[in-house]
Subunit: 287 residues, 2 copies
Amino acid sequence: MSSYPANLIEALRAEPGLKLSERATQNPDWWPKDAPQDKKTAQKRMEEIAQPLSDLQERLFAASVQGQEAPSVLLILQGMDTSGKGGIVRHVLGMLDPQGVEHHAFKAPTAEESAHDFLWRITKHLPGRGKVGVFDRSHYEDVLIARVKELASPEVLDSRYTKIVDFEKQLVEQNIHPIKVMLHISKDEQYERLAERLDRPDKHWKYSPGDIDDRLLWEDYQQAYEIAVNRTDNKTAPWHVVPADQKWRARLCVAELLLDTLQRITVPWPEADFDVAAEKARLEATK
Amino acid sequence: MSSYPANLIEALRAEPGLKLSERATQNPDWWPKDAPQDKKTAQKRMEEIAQPLSDLQERLFAASVQGQEAPSVLLILQGMDTSGKGGIVRHVLGMLDPQGVEHHAFKAPTAEESAHDFLWRITKHLPGRGKVGVFDRSHYEDVLIARVKELASPEVLDSRYTKIVDFEKQLVEQNIHPIKVMLHISKDEQYERLAERLDRPDKHWKYSPGDIDDRLLWEDYQQAYEIAVNRTDNKTAPWHVVPADQKWRARLCVAELLLDTLQRITVPWPEADFDVAAEKARLEATK
């Protein structure tokens, strides 16, 4: 395979002092020349990497079945309404074996969840060993919506960034490897997508009047994202800002991020924990 | 689409007084003439039904998001080691959106699970509303391995069949629709599959010496399956015996069963619970 994924992944990394208004939401000028330039080529590339993705996932799963402390992946998806989190799950995570995927969508906290620290419910849904976990929204909501809607005091909010950094450091120490993704869309693109949801009766269920309430706070959310990314980006648990106005592009980016992580943490097939020759003889005796 | 799926599904149904030794594990003579006759045609049919499967699943999911009491599906997969349960999950459930699938593989009960009634852990893993649940093994292990290995007294075993029938009746009343599948393989085919697992280092993790212990009890297991199917088959929660020596055939059968169930329980797109015109106006105002 060509060398573009490395360039792509580097380009997706949030730079220090990130300004979201300066990050492209479509046709980024830094897009690698040898990467797919359109939907059809991206589709072909996705088909190409389906098999390596699946093989790497099976190795993780195999290691966990044999009781090894197999690494896990945790894909954290954040983004404004309509940014395409669900589509990523369907089209990218859908490439993996469902046995190895653990998906959780975080909603407004329940009464029980609110009665605990904000990381309590997150810990409960961490992926098992050898699994690929996916969070559709996450602990970042507690510094995003919580900041914009003033659901916590400035002091509490402030303390959460540090807690998140520490928490994610512990994840990596536990061999759970986060891939933090912000799906970055423009306000214009959100308009188009919300309009489509309102136009099509089969999309009404995806719409909520609260989406407009949040849209009216667009700038506040962008600022909250900027602060969150800048305060929680680090080498151990880096942020990736994915241009998401074009769905094919966003899906390709996340697929490449997933492939890159799975390649980095890959484990060999587990050694047999039984005597292969002896078992072959036992099997022959049953013929 | 042609009418074969109805014939196929009828043919898969366990007949009263089922004798497993009389059921084909490959090339069944009752296989519908207009159904796919080989792997390639089956593959084409799977591609054909991927979209309807996905659409029907999205409707269920949509209904549950809007807080309706949406129906759920529960695919119960049973079969001897190597019968292909994992392959069904990967290739058939893999056709669905991971957001709508809840998969659970039941292993030997934990100490906590053993301290409860055998249905306790099953209840814990029932699919949420609008979800497609998949059980890789299930409460049936408590009348299969439990019977063969005498893990419970004859009286306790005997009472479990009735409890299972009542439990599954309640599931349907709760709008959870079971699809009970026994993947039926021959002893010869199991030999081939175990031999492959022993031959290939990348398959060793799928092998356990216990597989041969169970293989030595083949006839006992077949009998336990026969009794279980005969005592728990009924119109509300019917059993399907799927010929599983040919993987493409087994996968096609389960895909058709899933499609058939999703079609039977399908729900309309939920009505908007907001004023569409008013929301359109609100959206325009944000442009």
